[in-house]
Amino acid sequence: MAFHKINVTINDELEQVVVPSNMTLMAMLRESLAMTGTKNGCSAGECGACTVLLNGEPVNSCMVLAVECDGANIVTVEGLAEEKQLSPIQQAIIHEGGVQCGFCTPGILISSHALLKRNPNPSENEIREALVGNLCRCTGYVRIIESVKEAAKIQSAAT
């Protein structure tokens, strides 16, 4: 099986990685780059724990081949905070109590972050729809939904 040398920008840093054809983006992040913030919950594109931004859009990284990411721009949970300041959604989810075990949290944050970028003032229904691919077993989602509303307020206050 062939190995491919790819160049990929991850959280604003250019990485050069050698990957086998059958390695997923999720495995590349977690194993090749030891970036373990992105989690493996099912490897089947169902639970959303592995969600990252690929060229600005959320994807299940377990359903993307690493080799497809040559030249791509990736954002993971490790890249959401600016220097010392947490992003609005990170601040809000702490404040609203939307974190319990934390395993779904990175995927939730990425999906929410992307939602707020394309829709800065989402309705309750829009939030529910945007997060339907991020399964959580602990919180019951209510505080997560509130967190997104809170983050929208923080974001608009900052602009």
């Binding site: 977690r30 702490i94 974190v99 934390g102 529910r128 939904i145």
Partner: protein
């Protein structure tokens, strides 16, 4: 010197302190077991599993697998003769001569990559002689059924579990209270029903994972996603015939447990394999498909419930028979049988109760502890019968419950007395919040709206001497380090432990750290993170350790200041004297002590506070009658109500509003308590509407998220309310008792009762899927 203001220092107890672990979880920095970096010596394991529900292993040929380049070890049950189990040692680490469920581990492979280990599985040849399986618990209890554990009589078993050798009954718990047979004739109304509660699974978003390493000296280290590091140390050491001191368990954050990561399941496989490749850590990570049925599931139940009341609505008698579909091994499930037996009256005062709770071996996945520990399964039927009885007698369902529910001093089904409880308040508050008695119009012509309510009770189900311990140390800058053995599984226990340590010691919450990860080499002993017991039990240990540290500090300062310790206190991180008004920051003395008066030497030294807690008052229960003075430590009680709509076109149920009220004694962190109520409600709702492991011929037909549906953000109710009632627990820290499990217990019957209110239909068990509801309405003529 100014008077020290001790009046307005806020106590962290009862405050919504921000989670101590939130920042690392939102930045991706939090380490879970699969995130630990082990380097190039890491090997990967995969397991070859039984394809049959019941078979005799005739032959295993691993030669081709062993020869595959990259394979470093292949192990079978022949290498590991020991038995393992929590309450009943009924299984081997790897199957030795029988396989008893589809997924039973037969061979383990360690290789340099997961890919090679997976390939090796296909090269292993196992020859089976297929045997007749037991696929139903009632059949399993029948003398005609094949006996799945012929050696049941020889298994080591806890003295409060009663197996019946020669049968498939691994525990039979009895309640014989009063005389039900003499009382049925006096009942003005009787309800008799059968329920079938399906198997479900915990579905933690983080699958089970274990990494084990055996070094040359024979010491074993196990890293894992674990609710029970100390129980794992104990059970695995016993199974391998080694000292507990040779078995070290390190347990980082748990990505969801709900009971499935309690006790020992797949962790022993990683340890066993690791003993064959000394010096190499061996990682075993379950796929999501394996997670659904090869570790622990929640056992199924067939329950027969009969209850009767007099014309005033007073409950007179209950008769219950529970057939627990315990699965292939019931080392944990036997206690669920017991706990459900001694809880079988529900939270009601009933003078005559007869219960037979049977744990039955079947060739199904292994039933273990799941949130509620038998309570959701029995309340599912019980709380529906209560509604039906109330209807028969012409009484409002809430009024019926208020009449019969436990109050302080009530006599319980086990003959003991109920401690102080706010259950009545929980009922009132819940009924009020859901708008009980008021009917709101349906949202459309093809919808029907209904409300339902249900109660619950649960005691921590554990051995009578399950203990906790803790230590407290301080650093040069006055920060406090607290050692615990309990695990953060999302419930927030590290946060409340820090709050309790801060409250008991007299320091700000922000200055407290919890010594993580839990490591059995350094952390103090904790029985298990289960049973909603940590805030109460571990909390008491933390408080005792903090008080011990405080006593050491005050004794030192008293000697240095030549005062009496009774006049001293610690407030906000400062040692103060009420008498002399002197004050000193803690950091000045917690490591180096203080100079004696007159400069003649030193007093004090490094402060290490220690404390433990173990209930001392738990008595047994009579094996024939289930009666005893105090069988459990305490009960948490509560109520839930729902308002829902049924769609007449599709049968789909939409939960519009959910209300939970629980008596938690004292909410150390109210927002965290409410978060448990919300999360438990949604997990309960999900189990009510969507979830079941579809077992056919012993095979789980839906082991994936595609066909095992759990609630998503689109399913959660728009209006979810949580209320706290606080009637103090006499031996809880600040009066606290647990909440983690309880919010999942009454949800199924609350929804079932609401469905009945909406469309007049009941079912013999969940899930109340759209299809089930629609076809029932069609058959009943409610829709055409």
């Amino acid at each position: 010197m100014a008077r020290i203001d001790t009046q307005n220092v806020p106590s962290p107890i009862g405050e919504n302190a921000p989670r101590i672990d939130a920042r690392e979880k939102v930045t991706g920095a939090a380490i879970f077991a699969d995130d630990i970096q082990f380097g190039n010596s890491l090997l990967h394991a995969r397991i070859k599993r039984s394809p049959h529900p019941h078979a005799f292993i005739k032959k295993i040929d691993v030669t081709k697998a062993r020869a595959l380049p990259g394979v470093k070890a292949v192990v079978t049950g022949q290498d590991f003769p020991g038995y393992i189990g929590l309450y009943l040692k009924d299984r081997h680490i790897f199957c030795r001569d029988h396989v008893r469920y589809v997924g039973d581990p037969v061979v383990g492979v360690a290789a340099v990559s997961e890919e090679i280990a997976e390939k090796a599985l296909d090269l292993i040849e196992v020859e089976y002689e297929v045997l007749e399986p037991v696929l139903d618990p009632e059949f399993g209890a029948n003398p005609k059924a094949p006996v799945l554990h012929p050696d049941l009589g020889q298994y080591s078993v806890a003295n409060f579990i009663f197996p019946q050798p020669g049968t498939n009954i691994s525990n039979h718990f009895k309640i014989r209270k009063g005389d039900v047979d003499s009382v049925w004739g006096k009942c003005a109304a009787i309800v008799e029903r059968k329920y079938r509660i399906p198997h479900i699974q915990h579905v933690p978003i983080e699958p089970h994972i274990a990494i084990a390493k055996a070094d040359e000296s024979g010491e074993i280290t196990l890293w894992g996603s674990s609710q029970s590091p100390f129980a794992q140390r104990n059970l695995i050491a016993q199974a391998l015939g080694i000292s507990q001191s040779k078995m070290r368990v390190i347990a980082p954050f748990v990505g969801g447990g709900f009971g499935c990561k309690a006790g020992v399941s797949m962790e022993a496989l990683a340890v066993a394999i690791a003993t064959k490749v000394k010096g190499h850590p061996v990682k075993l990570l379950l796929t999501r498909e394996e997670e659904f049925f090869t570790a622990f599931v929640r056992q199924g139940l067939v329950s027969y419930i009969k209850m009767g009341c007099d014309e005033k609505g007073q409950l007179l008698a209950m008769e219950n028979t529970f057939y627990w579909d315990g699965g292939a091994y019931t080392e944990y499930g036997v206690n669920i049988t017991r706990a459900s037996g001694y809880s079988s009256s529900g939270p009601y005062e009933v003078p005559n109760v007869k219960t037979d709770s049977y744990c039955i071996y079947t060739n199904h996945p292994v039933g273990g502890a799941m949130r509620g520990f038998g309570m959701p399964e029995i309340h599912a039927g019980l709380e529906q019968c209560i509604d039906e009885l109330a209807l028969q007698i012409g009484m409002d369902a809430v009024e019926f419950r208020k009449l019969n529910c436990l109050k302080t001093g009530s006599t319980l089904v086990t003959g003991s007395k109920m401690h102080a409880t706010g259950l009545s308040t929980c009922i009132e508050k819940t009924a009020e919040a859901i708008g009980w008695g008021k009917k709101s119009p349906a949202s459309g012509p093809n919808k029907r709206r209904g409300k339902g309510l249900a109660l619950m009770w649960k005691a921590p189900a554990m051995p009578p001497n399950a203990g906790s311990s803790a230590w407290v140390e301080l650093a040069e800058d006055g920060t406090v380090n607290v050692g615990v053995g309990g695990q953060e599984i999302g419930q927030g226990v590290f946060t409340v432990a820090a709050q309790m340590a801060a409250g008991a010691l007299g320091v700000p919450y922000e200055s407290v750290r919890i010594a993580t990860p839990v490591d059995t080499r350094y952390s103090p002993y904790e029985w298990q993170t289960v049973a909603s017991r940590l805030t109460w039990s571990m909390g008491n240990a933390v408080v005792n350790a903090a008080k011990d540290a405080k006593r050491q500090i005050l004794d030192t300062v008293a000697e240095a200041w030549e005062e009496s310790p009774e006049d001293l206190d610690i407030v906000n991180g400062m040692v103060i004297s009420y008498k002399s008004e002197k004050e000193m920051p803690l950091k000045n003395l917690v490591i180096y002590g203080l100079p004696k008066p007159g400069g003649q030497g030193w007093v004090g030294g490094p402060v290490v506070g220690r404390g433990n807690f173990m209930p001392t008052y738990v008595t047994g229960l009579d094996a024939e009658t289930g009666q005893g003075e105090r069988a459990v430590v305490h009960y948490t009680t509560g109520a839930q109500a729902v308002e829902l709509e049924v769609d007449l076109d599709t049968g789909r149920i939409e939960i519009l509003k959910g209300v939970s009220t629980f008596d938690v004694g004292k909410a150390i962190n109210p927002e965290l308590v409410k978060a448990q109520m919300e999360g438990g409600f949604v997990q309960g709702m999900s189990s009510a509407l969507f979830e079941s492991l579809q077992l056919k011929d012993g095979v789980v037909k839906n082991p994936s998220f595609v066909d095992y549906r759990i609630a998503t953000s689109a399913d959660t109710p728009r209006d979810l309310e949580a209320y706290i009632v606080e009637v103090a627990q006499d031996d809880g820290p600040w009066g606290a008792r647990g909440i983690g499990e309880h919010s999942m217990v009454p949800t199924i019957p609350a929804i079932a009762n609401a469905i009945y209110d909406a469309v007049g239909i009941r079912f013999d068990g969940p899930p109340f899927t759209a299809e089930k509801v629609y076809l029932a309405m069609l058959d009943a003529g409610i829709v055409k």
